[in-house]
Amino acid sequence: MMKTLTEKQKKLLYRILAAIVMMILLSILPLKQYPAVRFLLFLVPYFTVGFDILRKAFKGIRNRQVFDENFLMAVATIGAMMLGEYTEGVAVMLFYQIGELFQSIAVGKSRRNISELMDIRPDYANLVTEDGVEKVDPDDVETGSILLIQPGERVPIDGVVVEGSSSLDTSALTGESLPRDISEGDEILSGSINQSGVLRIQTTREFEESTASRILDLVENAGSRKAKSEQFITRFARWYTPAVCYSALALAVLGPVVSMVFLHRSGGWALWSKWIYRALTFLVISCPCAIVVSIPLTFFGGIGGAGSKGILIKGANFMETLADVRTVVFDKTGTLTKGNFAVARICPAHTGYIHTGYEHTGDLGDTGEEPGREPAGLLAQESRDQASAVRAGGKAVEERLLEYAALAESFSTHPISRSLREACRVNGQEPESPGRVGTCREISGRGVVTEVDGKSVAAGNSLLMQELGIVIPPEDDHSKTETGTIVHVAADGQYMGHILIADEIKPHAADAVRELGRAGVTRTVMLTGDAEEIAAHVAGDLGIDEYHARLLPEQKVEKVEALLAENAKGAGRGSLAFVGDGINDAPVLSRADIGIAMGALGSDAAIEAADVVLMDDDPLRIAEAVRIARKCIRIVHENIGFAIGVKAICLLLGAVGIANMWLAIFADVGVMVLCVLNAIRALV
């Protein structure tokens, strides 16, 4: 405990302890007969514990910054001492200082927590030069330099791995605890930690533009935007403290006067001192420290806590807007779906190579070229079960189907061909084997016919199959239920099966939408440039309330504006958040009440335009951000309500003379400590 205290805090602690010991001694000593000695002796603990407050109050008066908490404390305690209430006078100062110490420890602790979590600034870089490796300041590294990164070291500058492989701990950047495996050719971001192997990277940015620097910059600037409640506190403090001081003065003067005039009490010191005591109690109670201290602390904790989870909130004002979000608008691609085409399913024909003789009905239509979604329908599962029941060793058949498709498409650069090859690679197969692939004929809008292992392999949409006279067995035809792109494969005129390629829905997308509902979001909207059916499917699967398909980027802005207008009409419907992946949606990000860019570390425009930046691309973080903001704002309201409530009650009691100085101390320091404790909850 003692180790974590700073020198300043230790000194204050010793002063408090010394004053307590002196107060105990003074209460034991029989000093009743010597009032002068008693007064002088009490001055010792008073100055021990309170000299800095008195000095600050004095300087404040000299600098015409009169009405602050130091002034309040000085007036209240000096007043109490004058009235002969020595114990109370010293006690007020003592407890005030205990409160200050407590607050200072709490702030220091939260600051340390946050700075540990945000400690991503690299101190040096190992620059590889002709004469070996040199430790340099990351600021001096030019773009394109080669850096050496040892295991355990932090990546200083963004770059591409040119040699070595390792796993990277990116938790400081993304909050993701699973390490990421990287090897040659992979891009790595500064701020992550190299865990296992030695890496050589070529830098792609300067230090100043690197991810780590940009994140730190963002966090360090978060303070510039004040929340409405913070502005309220500043304004509040500006008139509140003087108002309280004048009220106290009025109480001290008018109280006795009114008593004398209307109640015909005899004047005299007893009456005056009674009312002065009440006025001083009033002063102590009304000290606004609890609110003034705890509210900035709450925002500070909330923004820091969110930052440590990979959620960068650009300012306290956005914390408020985020807490008020009722409508969330998603840009589909990149937020709910991965935005890449991948093999979603491999479906070999039910009967393998043997053509079963079903007649082709001819109304298959065009199922090709529809980007889509990952199907999770019952039907798909059913057909898969059937298929595996029919075939023993189905895995081998699937691999073969994929391999043929990939080989057939091995000359194509179409995204679909790329995803086929990628799936092959993941399976551990070799997708490019020049020896096995012969002539290739590409039929535009249909597919390819390629010679593979001496067979004529056709891979393409149903039109291609139709043209080649290949019959797709009805039980293998899912064109009515699937919304991805289907690649049919046939070898030497025999139907082999099909492969479904779809834009994958992110694993947590459905959970994310549900979590948002739980966090208080009442309306979810999805915008996409894709076709109606795909949008309907994705929205249906994820439980999104509305969708708007076939939108051009500028129409997305119009849609968001329309939604904003709707929100404005239905008063009290909260604010609107737009979530985008930062690609081409900067205008929408800045137009929405609050723009959330996700996985946007690479995009400067998005970081610039967004109000909240999610460092990884997990949509669950959106709900988490909303929850953190709600909690932070709730704490702010609790503290304002609690502090003002307790103080109002105590002030009333004090004014009518029921409350004494001890209750006043609780209303001041006790409330402050409770508010600070409450504020610290925002950190987690």
């Binding site: 800095d52 000095r55 600050k56 300087k59 404040g60 600098n63 910054q65 200050e100 607050q103 200072s104 702030v107 600051r111 946050i114 700075s115 966090v219 360090e220 600037n221 978060a222 303070g223 510039s224 913070e230 506190i233 500043t234 403090a237 003034v292 201290v293 509210i295 900035p296 602390l297 500070f300 923004i303 820091g304």
Partner: protein, 72 residues
């Protein structure tokens, strides 16, 4: 021209007061105090004498909050 200075101050509200004082100093275009990072970021007016302005900023901060430090 922007510069960042390390500061020392005890409470969040005092940091706000410092920020206000710094912003009122002539030659300062915008000052931002980050209580969390204990840093003050100052953007100077074009052609301002940075050292002179910062001396003034320190003075002004000391007036509103005696117990503060700016490490120049």
């Amino acid at each position: 021209m922007k510069k960042t200075y390390k500061i020392d101050v005890d409470c969040a509200n005092c940091a706000n007061k410092m920020e206000e004082a710094a912003n009122k100093t002539p030659g300062v275009k915008e000052a931002v105090v980050n209580f969390m990072a204990l840093k003050m970021k100052v953007e100077f007016e074009d052609g301002a004498d940075i050292d002179g302005v910062m001396q003034k900023v320190v003075e002004n901060c000391k007036i509103v909050e005696d117990d503060c430090q700016i490490y120049l």
